[in-house]
Amino acid sequence: MRYRATLHGQAFTFGSVREVLAKASEAKSGDAMLGIAADSALERIAARYVLSELPLRELRANPVIAYEDDEVTRVIEDSLNEAIFAEIASWTVGELREHILSHDSTGEEVLRLSRGLTSEMIAGVAKLMSNMDLVYGAQQLRVTATAQTTLGRPGTMSFRLQPNHPTDNVEGILATVMEGLSYGSGDAIIGINPAEDSVARTAELMERTDAFMRHWRIPTQSCVLSHIGTQMEAVERGAPVGVLFQSIAGTEETNTSFGVDAALLREAADLIARKGVAPGPNLLYFETGQGSEMASDSDHGVDEMTLEARTYGFARPFAPFMVNNVSGFIGPETLYDGKQIIRACLEDHFMGKLHGLPMGMAPCYTNHTNADQNDQETATMLLAMAGACYYMGIPMGDDVMLSYQDTGLHDDATLRELLGLRPTPEFEAWLEQLGVLRDGRLGPNAGDPTIFLRYEPEELLDLSRPRAQATVEARR
């Protein structure tokens, strides 16, 4: 017995920080599958009670996977700010929760402290938060990042246009790009998941997307989401792209199963800074999600929420342009239903922001999960209130290549209207010229992809303005 707490006359004991963290989580099917979840509702609260009284130094001294055993632990530990950690080492997790929620601390101050927080501490404090705590706590945390344009500015809400096609038909992908742009989506990035992971396909998609963006002077960035090694080879051969993508996870073993490690990411960051078409400094895009570790049998008996936090800790030193999570993507074995998916989304957004990351969200579900589009829309509205930097934009939310549902193009426009938020400024100016947006609401040409075929750019755009990508073109 290491930690003990009594509630309603019942005593509960816990043997390790790892056990406390796992049992303090809201119910998740993934943790139950691993046999690490709380055995009863009261045990779950007892674990939270213990967690609330643990000093931060106790969590730092007990990472859920040992330093010498795991690269993710080493990246988190080695990138911590020691001076800031020293200021708060004696705080308990419960005190940290109250500090984050307090009117006495600003978002900037919380983000400064976060440089002294390990991912286990961030997971721990999120476990002590209710859903509204997670929304309130995250809303003050404003993180911006710049590739070609800048995401996350106050008053903005951006979208990744995701124009996937089941067989990578380029005309079909561009048709979807046109549809998405006509709803004001795509200011975060135009990001295509190819069905075929090859250098030739990746390079072709990079070239055609870049050509379309140049022709229409679209002030945004693009990305093709094949394996990062495939993208790097395409860029080495001269394919034009601004941002490189990779899925990452919270254990070294899972990252190995994805074919990635810190050295490869450093190599990628270096390559895209030298050969990419966007100036940066933030040029990597990471995707994450609760449950990916257990899906590849490499979870080390750690709960899925703590592993997700560690994924953000692994991402942090790479100063990415975008991070988003797709926690509903795997299925009912990790998050059983809409309630668990919504909870996980709020946790992930908060934990990502508290790591100082430009966090976007892909609240999503698959058709073998007990969830539907109403759950998806509910999650999206809550996350919009929490201040997520960006969401996906998919025609009617239906990804015809990846076979799951996510945020739809109509939802993108609706969220902006509901909350009075705008695209990135340069993208908004571009949309206004196209007649897609009028004073922040959808305009006369909204929803009509054929404007890109009926007109030439000079008929709609004011080309006397400086071209958004002039500097990049000069460099090339």
């Binding site: 599958m33 124009p163 996937n164 096609h165 089941p166 067989t167 038909n169 079909g172 992908i173 048709a175 979807t176 046109m178 549809e179 069905a195 992971d197 090859s198 030739a200 394996h227 090694g229 080879e233 190995t256 199963s257 994805f258 074919g259 590849s296 049998d297 490499s298 299925g331 009912p332 074995e333 059983y336 698959t366 058709n367 073998h368 589009q373 025609p395 009617m396 939310g397 239906d398 990804d399 015809v400 290549m401 076979s403 799951y404 549902q405 739809g408 109509h410 426009a413 609706t414 209207e417 959808l442 040409n445 909204a446 929803g447 009509d448 992809p449 054929t450 075929l453 009926r454 007109y455």
Partner: protein, 302 residues
């Protein structure tokens, strides 16, 4: 489920008593499915929203280029040109989306036709999964062949094949029913034409992709191909994937595998073409004695 069926039967019986059951001949109404005022009050006979033709009806009242719009809709199965009500979807697109989700929900617990398995000479073994609910919640058990399955395989299969093919319903029995009879003969012929030594194919009940490690170990196979139903996409309940790996053994992961997904006639990779393509990838895998990330590295990224 049986409760729902009982309710549906009761409702249909009640409708029958009131003389309101659907016309068994499926005769369309005079006004092309629109409302029809008659002596007995309003009657409706609405046409299917989910046919390929109905899906291609644009919801845009006044596109800048109507001809170009038709062209765009031909290029993809994505839901383009749907129009809007304010910033929200139009009623028709919303209902089509919900219908597509509904059909998927109804189909997800389907069964593979015995005739399909028999037609291809596949016998059936199982994993450690006990039932459908456990299949969804415990993928780890779906990656393990049962002890009985291992014994059956040892008895009935050719040992140490160059290529072992297995099939599994995964999350869509319809994927196997619709695609396997087309894909399998092309794949088999493609492998035989290359002079490869094939194993004895079989079907695995309630399996996950990772079960190929157990198959590879049990038979000491060089390459294992699994043809498996994907989790259903909206309105596409029948897409199949082919995963394959070089010497799959305990501990191998997706990083060691190659994948062709979205094999379906409904806007994906045609199953006949898929069969030929998979045969080619198998040959490449055998030639380089590698798959997945390792194979991509050997091929210089291609």
């Amino acid at each position: 489920m049986s409760d729902v069926e009982a309710i549906v039967r009761a409702v249909l019986a009640e409708l029958g008593r009131q003389g309101q059951e659907p016309d068994p001949a499926g005769r369309p109404s005079a006004s092309d499915g629109g409302p029809e005022a008659g002596g007995e009050g309003l009657r409706l006979d609405l046409p299917d929203l989910a046919t390929p033709e109905a899906r291609r009806v644009s919801g845009l009242p006044d596109p800048a280029d109507p001809e170009a719009l038709a062209g765009l809709l031909e290029t993809t199965t994505a839901r383009l040109g749907v129009g809007r009500a304010g910033p929200r979807p139009r009623t028709r697109s919303l209902l089509l989306f919900q219908a597509d989700h509904g059909v998927t929900q109804d189909a997800i617990h389907g069964e593979v036709d015995e005739a399909v398995k028999e037609g291809l000479g596949l016998f059936t073994v199982d994993t450690e999964v006990a039932d459908g609910e456990e299949y969804l919640l415990r993928p780890d058990l779906g990656r393990r062949l049962s002890a009985e399955a291992k014994a059956t395989i040892a008895e009935r299969c050719v040992a140490r094949p160059q290529v072992q093919i297995v099939a599994a319903a995964g999350l869509s029995a319809a994927a196997i029913n619709h695609n396997l009879p087309q894909l399998y003969p092309v794949l088999e012929q493609g492998l035989r034409d290359r002079g490869l030594r094939l194993g004895t194919p079989f079907f695995i009940e309630r399996a996950r992709v990772g079960v190929i490690n157990d198959v590879g170990e049990a038979l000491d196979a060089d390459v294992v191909v699994i043809l498996i139903g994907e989790r259903p996409g909206l309105g596409i309940p029948d897409a199949m994937s082919a995963y394959l790996g070089w010497r799959p053994r305990g501990g191998k992961t997706d990083a060691h595998r190659d994948l062709l997904c979205m094999i379906t006639d409904r806007g994906g990779v045609n199953p006949l073409e898929a069969g030929a393509y998979v045969a080619e990838v198998v040959a490449t895998t055998l030639a380089h004695e590698a798959s997945g990330v390792e194979l991509r590295r050997l091929l210089g990224g291609d």
